[in-house]
Subunit: 436 residues, 2 copies
């Protein structure tokens, strides 16, 4: 690559899709990238940067010469530029904004102050807007002019004289319409919009349900502030899915490609240490039953089985509840129904596993009371653990805490404690039957 | 609703977005829905059905009069109709296909035989195609004619005389182009397509990376067979995320809104019973150390702590590896790097937790050997469990098994066994120090 002439490089490079260009960029060492920058205009580099992984693009922007970087940021989609700037420190952002042309810096500034993970933070202000009183022909002319800059031209938004959103027209409908018709006659006023503070997860759900390619974002007076396009929503969906998945496993954040063991360990240790203390608490509970254990040491044999089953069934119920809340299937009106169902599920699985365990332990150890003790403990444990697994995320959601934070390891450890209490409590109560 | 006049109902209902119409449909009892069908044309009902939840639409189609149902299916997007028909039994499908008009049934038949979860099964054959030798003006005229039927008109695909895909042009570029230019001059031949057998998860990844609104599907000779649109891909992403999440929790399938306890229990019991037998195996291992336990009953106190920590760290490593494989960050070239990193992570977390546990147990029980035994067991356990958590999905992926199948509960139980062996193995070996 490095030995090629500029023209050959440009010819080949610019033939590629920006995503493939971005992959090439990510794989090159810094010195080669510095040469490539000199081959490409800020506009061309901007297109590449939009497809570079978020955690790497910061590094790339830092290595560019500042005025080149400012130009690249100015040429990017405003929403992507804002995402990058939000990761940089404030002084750097200020200096980039001073260098770039006023138009771009104004557009970027308008988007910089919105809260993370809300509509405001993922919207762009590069959209096409027309007035109700324009004709289809005028709108098409306006559209052709705006097309190179706009994030999407497939929806055109219609505003009144006070810039309030009153309608939408798809390009599909626009190109079928006659040129002299009025926009107000061809537009749809059945418009779905989101408030600027709406959470990104809800927006993703909405976009998926309604099959939109873009959604308009409005303030409380219905002024059109920006639009959110489907490509950004796909990134949101991927990110939310990854977040939920890692929380279920008790990892605060997924590891990137280039992270080392220390970074990974730093992400996992906080969880492990919390769980360690919970585990110590479990140990102290068993400690209280030391007298029981001393008399019937065989009880210890079934501790992992009972605690493990409690953890497994709790994690299942947890996952079902978290997904149900995320997809909106569990809402205030269906909570009691879900809890009744989970209780029923716990009873059915509890009885099935309890009977099975009783038989196995009886056959194995030849002790019917031990069999009954372990079997009944499993049964009671499964019922309680299933309900707990469903209840914890529902309660968290009620208090506006993201239920996905209730991770699998956390619910597992809680259920360990419950199961140990049931098992040893019963064992201590019926001790005389076991030691006979 | 039931008492309203047809006209009033139609005026209000048809004003709504099809998704909202679908919600209303889902909430009505059957007898009211049967009345609504008589108010709506098959075409209008078809639009509603495209937005009804997949598991409910089957039921709705069954309750319609067969010839009405056939017309509704014929009016739906071909890909959606095919999805529904794939859920019905073959005789019913055959009878629907016979009733509907030949055009629609031919289109549907062409899509019916593709394998589930491949490009073929999610594509539609309602797309707009033009020839290289047409002019922009001709193409626009063709587009206007096809628009009402086509799934998307925002990408127009270009084929040669042998119907091979040679280019693509976005509507954006088409409306900017001059009317007398040739398609071959304005189209892009930098075209990304997917083979008809490609898996849907990979297609979703591609669509997200490249920010496409649609992707063309081709056979091995590059003939254009269909297109996949972004709205279908969002459903795929949601479904895949839900699948991975439920597998991590050991639930074979998520519960729908209307399922009862028996259905839920049926989905969870197979996992629980497998885990029960694995738990029994763990119990039998502890059983082998009964002599040790009899002498030092306090050892039992730390079983849940050690087994729990092994499960937690294993689940973390598992989740990171499964996500890494899904996003392509873990591939053949990076496997050894990842395993070295995980081993390092295991050593760091192991030493941290091990030292902490040693101190706590020493302070609590006043026994330095017991402290060291539990601490060193935790350390060794965390190292082994972390590596196991990462290794299992990598090995599964190597043998072309979906690594997401390695659920959290499964890896937790495996790690229980490993941790018990380490703990009791060490305790038995150093017994003389503990009983002094």
């Amino acid at each position: 690559l490095i030995n090629e002439q500029i023209d050959t490089f440009r010819a080949e490079f610019l033939e590629m899709h920006p995503y493939d260009q971005a992959k090439i960029f990510e794989e090159q060492p810094e010195d080669i990238r510095l040469i490539i920058y000199t081959y490409l205009s800020p506009e061309e580099t901007a297109e590449v940067m939009e497809h570079v992984e978020r955690d790497q693009v910061e590094e790339l922007v830092a290595e560019m010469n500042p005025s080149y970087a400012a130009n690249v940021l100015a040429e990017m989609s405003t929403d992507d530029a804002v995402d990058i700037l939000n990761e940089l420190d404030k002084n750097k952002v200020a200096s980039f904004l001073t260098i770039m042309d006023k138009n771009s810096s104004d557009e970027i500034k308008a988007l910089l102050h919105y809260e993370e993970k809300t509509a405001g933070s993922i919207m762009t202000n590069e959209f096409v807007v027309v007035q109700t009183k324009q004709t289809v022909k005028e709108a098409m002319r306006h559209l052709r002019k705006e097309a190179p800059e706009a994030e999407t031209i497939y929806y055109i938004y219609v505003v009144d004289v006070e810039k309030r959103l009153v309608g939408v027209i798809s390009l599909r409908d626009l190109i079928i319409a006659e040129g002299d018709w009025l926009i107000s006659d061809v537009m749809s006023d059945r418009i779905v919009s989101v408030p600027v503070g709406e959470g990104q997860e809800d927006i993703a759900q909405m976009m998926r349900d309604y099959d939109f390619l873009a959604l308009p974002v409005v303030d409380f007076q219905n002024h059109l502030l920006g639009i959110i396009t489907v490509d950004d929503i796909m990134d949101v969906m991927e990110q939310e899915a990854s977040d939920d998945y890692s929380k279920l496993a008790g990892v605060s954040d997924m590891d990137g490609r280039d992270e080392n063991s220390f970074v990974s360990a730093k992400k996992r240790l906080p969880w492990l240490i919390i769980l360690l203390f919970l585990g110590m608490f479990t140990a102290s509970i068993i400690g209280r039953f030391e007298a029981t254990l001393d008399q019937v040491a065989i009880l210890a044999v079934f501790i992992p089985l009972i605690a493990g089953m409690a953890g497994n069934t709790g994690t299942q119920a947890l996952a079902v509840a978290v997904r149900g809340i995320a997809t909106g299937e569990i809402n205030n009106s269906s909570i009691s129904k879900i809890l009744v169902r989970e209780a029923g599920t716990g009873i059915i699985t509890g009885i099935s596993c309890g009977v099975l365990v009783t038989l196995i332990v009886y056959v194995w150890k030849g002790d019917v009371f031990l069999g009954l003790l372990v079997g009944i403990s499993i049964m009671a444990t499964l019922v309680v653990a299933t309900i707990a697994g469903a209840l914890v995320p529902i309660i968290m959601n009620h208090f506006k805490i993201d239920p996905a934070v209730a991770s699998g390891p956390f619910i597992t450890t809680i259920n360990d404690i419950i199961s140990i209490l049931i098992y040893f409590g019963m064992a201590t109560a019926f001790m005389h039957l076991l030691t006979s």
